[in-house]
Subunit: 295 residues, 2 copies
């Protein structure tokens, strides 16, 4: 005997590059989506009509039982989820909030507690894979929260991504995302130093990349960003200002926990150098530009 499946009424907050693609994938899967965006133009840009727009996160939450948020930074999430006219003001009992933004693990845990006190629950589910992954529904999704909530959200996640991992309790998804971004940043530094050494020894960095791709030094960063650097193609992709924001989250968590991450600090230094010279809109692979130009 099969359990009857209740269709979730999904609300989505935040229609940026990532949000737009995710809403369209959910619509393609047959969901009617309640949406809220701070700017009406983002609603107008959606390529699906299977939506209903709301005037506040609270109003959207009243009409939805799964509310997904995907906005830029910790204060933005706090505003739409627990600020004035936020989701918390309209949340229904047993509703599930899924925050897919990349924000502070500590703030995530605070908000999850507030939703729990309101009789609802919350997952953190930041993603990796960028615009390309969002459009192709191949995002990696790193999830923190209760197992039953993860199970409830899985059919939704499967409309959006491929590598869906329940990392642990509330905040664990954000911790995994911080780890993802600090590993990617440091790998970029490593590849850039390799190119720098090669160039200074009159060896073609492209040939070095070829040699390294087949062996133990292989990484996705070497393959994708390594080629970007050779092409000097720094069109984002994943913007420097966002990668810098994410490393600040990682370094803030490290400070809170009294641990040192000098490799992460080094890569943050290059991202900050890009920000200072006004290159925050470039892809974060431009870290290599700083390393290759300033030596």
């Amino acid at each position: 005997m099969q359990k009857e499946k209740v269709a979730e009424k999904i609300g989505y907050i935040g229609l940026g590059i990532m949000g737009k693609a995710m809403v369209e994938n959910l619509a393609k899967a047959g969901h009617k989506i309640n949406v809220y965006a701070r700017r009406q133009v983002s609603v107008d840009a959606l390529e699906t009509n299977n939506i209903e727009a709301f005037s506040s996160p609270a109003a959207l939450a009243e009409a939805s039982n799964v509310i997904i948020s995907c906005v830029s930074d910790t204060p933005d999430v706090e505003q739409v989820l627990v600020g004035p006219q936020g989701v918390i003001d309209g949340i229904q009992a047993n509703s599930l909030v899924i925050d897919m933004s990349t924000i502070s693990p500590e703030s995530t845990q605070n908000m999850a507690n507030q939703f729990s006190q309101a009789g609802a629950s919350m997952l953190d589910a930041p993603v990796s894979g960028g615009e390309v992954g969002a459009i192709a529904a191949t995002l990696s999704i790193m999830v923190g929260g209760a197992a039953e909530d993860f199970a409830r959200a899985t059919p939704i996640f499967e409309c959006l991504g491929k590598n869906i991992i329940h990392v642990g309790a509330s905040g664990a998804g954000q911790v995994a995302k911080a780890c993802n971004n600090l590993v990617a940043a440091q790998t970029m530094v490593a590849v850039a130093e390799a190119y720098l050494l090669a160039r200074s020894c009159d060896v073609d960095p492209a040939k070095v990349r070829d040699a390294l791709l087949g062996g133990f030094a292989y990484s996705r960063v070497l393959e994708l960003h390594g080629q970007r650097v050779l092409d000097e193609n720094y069109v984002a992709g994943f913007k420097t200002k966002l990668h810098a924001k994410d490393l600040r989250i990682a370094l803030k968590s490290a400070e809170t926990k009294s641990i040192k991450m000098p490799g992460t600090e080094l890569s943050d230094h290059y991202l900050q150098a890009l920000l200072k010279q006004g290159d925050g809109e470039l892809d974060s692979a431009a870290m290599a530009k700083v390393i290759l130009e300033n030596t």
Copy 2:
């Protein structure tokens, strides 16, 4: 009309873990191999009879027209190739020396000049892939030297490895190998910092690894060394003392060329810490142990 193929008479110097496996693969391919090892026990350990042992590198060179060396460090290569009773003393016109050790690019270029003056030639062809790759003949081989010498050596390389790249002129193979090792070392630091952050936030590093394997932070180091670190399995593999030696080559080249590689310096710091505490025989993945224990 096919050009008649002259079978090379191959001499091999250095029968350590890597050399033993390579000689046996060359013998399997039908070559009779002239060998020289500083210790007779290394000759006795060979699992093939298709060899002839010589009492000095000079004597071996007189009886061979392709001479391969695979020993530990720059001074060892200098001794067997250009030292007293070295290969240079017995080298025949048009012979080809292939050094598969990992050594200084600058010393490589010096020795290549000496062989050139003797009417012979030399390739640098360091490898990546370790004992497993040497036995399975799946080594990555990074080659520096003249194109015609690379072409001449290719059938031999094909008995030993899979990813065979002609990187550039003399020394370029060693530069690529230095790049390979500095990228691998820094990627290990990055993964260890991720595990440290995860652990300090009460998140399971194994789950973080699962989440990262599917996305942009993927690397072979995360996959293979990442698992080693979870298992606390530091049986070499690639010994810390050799990885440290290789980073010193990279940092020496950087110094010669007046460039800075702070990420490489940071990873060297962890390798040196292992050496200081007497852990030079451990796999170099033990860098993670220093990072996870000393914070």
